[in-house]
């Protein structure tokens, strides 16, 4: 199963609400909200396809500005 570490940038003052929204996604674990409002999360799915579907949907979540990939491990597929 591939695993990735992502950083989500959202509109000012919306970090906690957005963290809640994205934590509700299956396959997304929120690991922390930084003081500047960015959210660190881990995405996992059965396939890279699953990961990309999740990240594509995160782009569409209300108040999300960008989603960036920091780390991707796909050793197990």
């Amino acid at each position: 199963m591939p695993v990735s570490g992502i950083v989500v940038r959202c509109l000012d003052g919306c970090a906690d609400a957005v963290a809640g929204r994205i934590a509700a996604f299956e396959g997304v674990e929120v690991h922390g909200v930084l003081p500047d409002g960015r959210i660190v999360a881990v995405v996992e799915a059965d396939t890279v396809q699953g990961e990309v579907d999740i990240v594509s949907r995160l782009h569409e979540v209300e108040d999300v500005i960008t989603v960036h990939l920091a780390y991707h491990n796909f050793e197990d597929i």
Binding site: G5, E29, H31, V42, V48, L69, H72
Partner: protein, 769 residues
């Protein structure tokens, strides 16, 4: 695979994300164990021209992980969504692994020796019968510096033909001629640091949010920290970028020429210009007008620059009143005035950013000139945080095609074949007889494939590009390739493409970290990487392929190297030494995350032409456009008029068609389309249309429509709710889909100065199916 190891991998992923975000988090010891056996090394990303740094993790000969490189100044630990596919690109199921030779309708496996023997015999036969200008090579901005350099040396210096072109002609050529005509030196004065340091950003026809997401994030981060930051999006299509901009200004296609002149008009009218800057650093010129569109075969154009005074330039601008241009462009006159004042606001650090909207334009050179005009009038140039910046689409459009000069007319370091001194310098460095490099350029990319269609070119070798999907007016060139009569097409690639379909020989190529390479990005950053994994099967490096052909044609002496990459680099950098294009020794790049040239005494240059930054500018000179010697070290403000597009909507074909890229795909999709995940996120091309236009035609969302131009027809579903939204009277189709070749509809009209075709404007009709 135990559960606990998985938890450790997740902790590793989180730790990497925290680290990239600048938060210190200690990686648990056990997660280090989870990563045991992975060897990490640096490389630039394989995709766009941004030039992000990636750390590639290899275990047992395979890539198993990637990271945004925290040490890379461009992306600081982050990748965009395409980062998910970097490594998988190498492992598609249909990867080409053996040379293939056409036998009738079939492609049959062959040995490298058979394939190269056949290729060399075809080259020799064509050269003997029809001369050296009957053979050609067509590469790309994805060639490494070494590959482009070797191809140029072989064709110009060995075979003795200027028949070398690149897909960058379809992408960046207008940016090159814009830089050359205004500053007499290619590539930007500024760098990506301007994205962090400025406060006012004008985007012209650039959908940065989707096409340069990492750079756009830097812009957004800047705005989050600084409430003064304004992003203005001038466009003909509402995009994800427009949504995030402070202001979106829609304009009618082609009227960017008039808008920039109207902005200059207001700056002059309201005396907002920087008189002292103009006096010290600017000359004024005009060129020919009504310059044509390059639609007929063998089209030729030579400009005839004439000096003019500032007063004559002011006179030229008089036509472009905000009211007249409002009528032409659809942008309200008061908005034009407001934007001119914003451009000239002395308290603001102003930047302009653009890509294909300007470059793929039948007046591409002119519109680049006009953007520089505004910066030169206001003196907002060559300063940290204030610059015009042309972004690029390919990882080494700058490093290879522009800097090495793999165009028919160019040589390395901005030199041209038409200049006897430049040829002599190249001949000396290459160790070839004087007079070997032909003095006349032959064909730009479009003309090269026209020559193939006519039969003037017999043999074409393409590497790392897919012209038989990406050329405009594609039907003509696809048919031309298969006309027979001695025509012979060689395609080197890693996957089957629309171009391998028309090939006589297909050569399987190594890609990205399967070879050692150097790329150069849009901010003049040169980035080196080492080979990390073996290519599959019998696939081989394009550099090896070129040198192997050279050897078989009797030009092996041009490549007498042991450590090929390093020795090519050391030879290549002689061209730029002392020319403001200095590059560092090879070892330097192996240890850095890239350096921006000119690199003098080991120091990179962030701002060209600026005292204190650029070592070529002497103390007391302030700003000096030292490359433009013939105008006394000054830049040129050009009087370039508005002229209409080559083809505009009419009663029969009432819509503008614009083509371009989307976030999930890159160019013709040969790498991204391989990966089923990306295909699913954006599986096939759609026709973006304005809901009011759809309503008038009785078309519903996702209904199929027939789109027809004077050159071709295509059937696509209409998308009224997509991320991009076409303006009224316009449709937009992305060009990645190999099953829906939208370029068959595009017009092969090009900018007479740059030779770059206009993929953004032609006339089509849309009908219900």
């Amino acid at each position: 695979m135990g559960l606990s190891r998985r938890d450790f991998l997740k902790a590793t992923a989180a730790a990497a994300a925290f680290a990239a975000a600048g938060a210190a988090v200690l990686k648990p010891k056990a997660s280090e164990a989870a990563e045991a056996g992975i060897k990490w090394d640096k490389a630039p990303c394989r995709f766009c021209g941004t030039g992000c740094g990636v750390l590639v993790g290899v275990k047992e000969g395979k890539i198993v992980a990637t990271k945004g490189d925290p040490a890379a100044p461009v992306n600081r630990g982050f990748n965009c969504i395409k980062g998910y596919f970097l490594s998988k690109i190498l492992y598609g199921k249909d990867r080409l692994t053996k040379p293939l030779i056409r036998k009738g309708d079939k492609m049959v496996e062959a040995s490298w020796d058979e394939a190269m023997t056949l290729i060399a015999s075809k080259f020799k036969e064509a050269i003997e019968k029809h001369g050296p200008d009957s053979v050609a090579i067509y590469g790309s901005g994805q060639w490494t510096v070494f590959e482009g350099y070797a191809a140029s040396k072989l064709f110009k210096g060995g075979i003795g033909t200027n028949n070398i072109e690149v897909n960058a002609r379809l992408c960046m050529a207008s940016a090159v001629t814009g830089f050359m005509t205004t500053f007499a030196s290619d590539e930007p004065m500024g760098c990506y640091d301007d994205l962090d340091l400025g406060d006012t950003y004008f985007l012209w026809g650039a959908n940065m949010a989707e096409c340069h997401p990492v750079l756009f994030s830097r812009l957004i981060d800047n705005r989050l920290k600084n409430p003064r930051v304004k992003i203005i999006d001038f466009g003909t299509r509402r995009t994800r970028t427009s949504q995030m901009a402070d202001k979106y200004i829609k304009f009618k296609p082609q009227t960017d020429l008039a808008l920039l002149n109207a902005i200059a008009h207001v700056i002059v009218r309201d005396k907002l210009y920087d008189e002292a800057f103009i006096k010290s650093h600017v000359v004024f010129k005009k060129g020919k007008t009504n310059i044509g569109y390059g639609m007929e075969d063998k089209f030729k154009f030579a400009d005839d620059p004439k000096p003019m005074t500032f007063d004559e330039y002011k006179e030229f601008l008089k036509t472009y009143t905000p009211e007249y241009v409002a009528e032409l462009s659809g942008v309200p006159a008061e908005t034009i005035v407001e934007m001119a004042h914003l451009y000239a606001d002395k308290s603001r650090k102003v930047n302009s950013l653009w890509t294909m909207g300007f470059n793929q334009h039948t007046r591409g050179t002119w519109v680049n000139n006009l953007a520089y005009n505004v910066h030169l009038l206001t003196g907002k140039i060559c300063k940290p945080g204030e610059n015009p910046m042309s972004l690029t689409g390919q990882p080494s459009a700058c490093g290879t095609t522009r800097e090495v000069g793999t165009f028919t007319h160019r040589l390395p370091a901005d030199m041209v074949v038409t200049d006897p001194e430049h040829r002599a310098k190249a001949e000396k460095i290459w160790g070839i007889p004087a007079g070997k490099i032909p003095a006349k350029p032959t064909y730009n990319a479009t003309e090269m494939f026209r020559a193939l269609d006519r039969g003037d070119i017999k043999v074409v070798w393409t590497q790392v590009t897919n012209p038989f999907q990406s050329l405009p007016n594609l039907n003509r060139y696809r048919k031309g390739a298969r006309k027979g009569d001695g025509r012979f097409i060689i395609v080197s690639d890693m996957y089957p493409t629309q171009s391998t379909e028309v090939a006589d020989v297909i050569l399987p190529s190594a890609s990205w970290v399967e070879k050692e390479g150097v790329f150069g990005n849009a901010e003049r950053r040169t980035h080196q990487w080492y080979k990390m994994v073996e290519p599959p099967g019998e696939a081989r490096n394009d550099l090896w392929q070129i040198i192997e052909l050279a050897r078989r044609l009797g030009h092996g002496n041009l490549f007498p190297y042991k450590y090929i990459e390093k020795e090519i680099w050391e030879e290549y950098r002689k061209f730029g030494e002392g020319q403001g294009k200095d590059l560092a020794p090879y070892e330097t790049y192996t240890k850095t995350r890239g350096l921006r040239w000119p690199v003098v005494n080991g120091k990179e240059t962030l701002y060209r032409y600026a005292e204190g930054h650029d070592p070529y500018v002497k103390t007391g000179e302030g700003i000096k456009f030292y490359k433009n010697k013939k105008d006394g070290g000054k830049a040129v403000i050009w009087a370039r008029p508005y002229e209409p597009a080559a083809e505009a909507p009419d009663k029969q074909y009432p819509f503008w068609l614009c083509t371009g890229r989307v976030l999930e795909h890159w160019h013709t999709g040969t790498m991204t389309g391989r990966v089923p995940e990306l295909k699913r996120a954006y599986p096939s091309a759609v026709c973006e249309m304005h809901p009011d236009d759809a309503k008038k035609l009785g078309i519903e969302n996702l209904q199929k429509v027939k789109i027809t131009s004077r050159r071709g027809t295509i059937i696509l579903p209409v998308d009224l709710n997509g991320r991009g939204k076409a303006e009224e009277g316009n449709i937009f189709v992305a060009f990645f889909d190999e099953n829906k070749l939208i370029n068959e509809l595009c017009i092969d009209a090009y900018c007479p100065i740059s030779g770059e075709p206009d993929f953004k404007k032609c006339a089509v009709k849309v009908e219900k199916v």
